[in-house]
Symmetry: C2
Subunit: 175 residues, 2 copies
Amino acid sequence: MDIDQQLLAAAERLFDRNGFNATGMGKLVREARLSSRTVYKHAGNKNALMARVLSERHRRFFEHTDFSTTTALFDSLAEWFAAEGIRGCLFFRAEAETGGDIPEIAAEVAAYHQQLIEHIAELVVRETGQADTQLADQILALFEGATTAATYRGAAVIDAARSCACQLVNARTRP
Amino acid sequence: MDIDQQLLAAAERLFDRNGFNATGMGKLVREARLSSRTVYKHAGNKNALMARVLSERHRRFFEHTDFSTTTALFDSLAEWFAAEGIRGCLFFRAEAETGGDIPEIAAEVAAYHQQLIEHIAELVVRETGQADTQLADQILALFEGATTAATYRGAAVIDAARSCACQLVNARTRP
DNA sequence: ACGCAGGTAAAACGATCGTTTTACCTTGGG
DNA sequence: CCCAAGGTAAAACGATCGTTTTACCTGCGT
């Protein structure tokens, strides 16, 4: 059934564009062109739907993003924003809107963050030949910072962050 | 009257900890130990209250933060988080929760961002002797990224971001 | 002594929230 | 042929939302 995709696509779009709490189930039902009965049959309730949206976003993001090199990482981010618009990190926003109080959502956010950290740590090892927590934290900060700051400064921040990250990595590559 | 401070303090605490939309006026009235009549006499309505909270936060943040050197900037951020807790940027969160649709709030967020950008640009000039948009964007990304990533990685990200920013600035200081 | 500015407590407003229910299709397989 | 599965449309649920109103109290200036 593409009914699940229809529902999840509408939910992700509305949650992302207008916020989670500001998006009522009524508006969601209307936008997804489904009946509320069907929506609740498929999603359970709003919290579960939010969690599924995050889970799907998680999958799609790591499917899209290329962690093979630092350059590729920030290029992927720029591509993502060009295709999806720049509205900041949906996981951070979900956690902030819910105060971390809804376990199913907090779990999805934590899972995303853990995988993000791991992928960056592996990237560091791959590019410099050794683990380096501080370098990984720096790339993470540049990645998150580009995501946030690009919402009001535009895509130029991503270029700036990429060149900074590459500088850091190159400095470690040949000492 | 400290009635305004009482109201704004409670509002900022609840909005920050639990989110803007998730914080009802009922809970706010209870927590501020005021009557709803008094709250609406002082604040007008919820949107105006949110905007005033952001305006006050803006003032307080720039009063606290030391933009004189790159080191001082990230030290200030670490101090702020130690004192206030780490929950990410309240301005970004306000914009995201409202989808940018409430003009009074969007204006406060834009004003904050503009001043942040300006202060960092001046910091760059002060430390390197010339304007450098790319360097300013890099420091901005590190600043925003530290703010966001510290919510799940902790204060270590701030140290990492500071050392990265200082490296960048020093590389420009003596060429 | 009095009035009024400005506070409280509590009820009430209509709107909207998330969710469930009722009643009615449509459709593919035995 | 028909019946279960699974969809729609729409009404209804109680809770809570943001906001206003009613009724009362208090303290201060003249």
